[in-house]
Symmetry: C2
Subunit: 187 residues, 2 copies
Amino acid sequence: MPALSKREQIVTEALKLFYRNGFHATGIDRIISEAKVSKKTLYNHFRSKDELVLATLRKRDELFRNYIMRETELRSRTPRERLLAIFDVIEAWFQESSFSGCMFINASAEFSESDHPCHILCAEHKRLVREYLRDLAVQAEAQAPEELSKQLNLLIEGATVEAHVCGDHDAASPAKRIAEMLLNQAF
Amino acid sequence: MPALSKREQIVTEALKLFYRNGFHATGIDRIISEAKVSKKTLYNHFRSKDELVLATLRKRDELFRNYIMRETELRSRTPRERLLAIFDVIEAWFQESSFSGCMFINASAEFSESDHPCHILCAEHKRLVREYLRDLAVQAEAQAPEELSKQLNLLIEGATVEAHVCGDHDAASPAKRIAEMLLNQAF
DNA sequence: GCCAAGGGAAACCGATCGGTATATCTTTTT
DNA sequence: AAAAAGATATACCGATCGGTTTCCCTTGGC
């Protein structure tokens, strides 16, 4: 029983490559080379490249949301504090050297038809993040938790895009200032 | 003298295909087929696919910023009104059947290295849009025009991402509501 | 009429794409 | 020990990639 199963090796390496270089620009040969796995093994675990892409996106969803929730809950205690702390978490994310934007925004750009399985999965990821925000807003007893979570989510998306496209790693600060204002009015 | 020069034919058609299907996913053969132009003609006008991509991005920057400014100024008169009207303009944009997100966000996803010419051009486009916002904020005599324009820009980016990834064509509304709040506090 | 220029169609280039097949070797199970 | 399963490297497949070249035809200027 290896520390990492072949499947996990492949997904882990594909995740890195897809995130850094894009989906269409990353070839199967490159993936098996970096993952140190034969092509047959890859196609033994995944029926097609598309399925591998979906698997990496599912993995990323799991890793990323866990990261956000864990870090947020580590930095603050009350739900209301957490709604603000998220902006500190994404700021730290922006400053990672491997930061290359939101993988789901990137994937939606490459798989732009709204009914493509990858695009659907991206929308689902965004829904789950917003759901987390809404839960926090409900716990914090905000007046309009649904609207508040939508607005905070907008700020997060905007900051993420700004950080990636313009290389502005402090893009979370103005977003956080708006969030403070929103929170002051939401109770 | 043709109505559209060969060069314009190529750029126009490449723009449509790159925007709809992505850059790496769109091949040269497809472009010349749709543009009804021979491959030799294309490579007579552009040294490489990368140069064609850059040319389409420059064209898009010109078309898009003109569209935003024209529509914004058509819908409102005072600078302050215009800072709000922009959100109506992007809402109309989201509802176009050909809407496929912000082409520069999409391009940044595919050309993610920050020093890639395409990525640089995307950052430049975003800078020019933000500059327009800042000019309006200055004209409107906002207290902190730089900060205000940054914040409004965040909202626009966030709404655009939300509209594309989640197919939420009303994503501009919550953004506009926040913008109204920001404007009420900025004077 | 002549001639250069530009464009068109299509062959061609080496490389790479996603994906399959084969044949050998190692590991695990029984 | 034997058999089954899984992994390996490698060759191969047809298609497509970005890009070049060849040949022919049209067009406009003189």
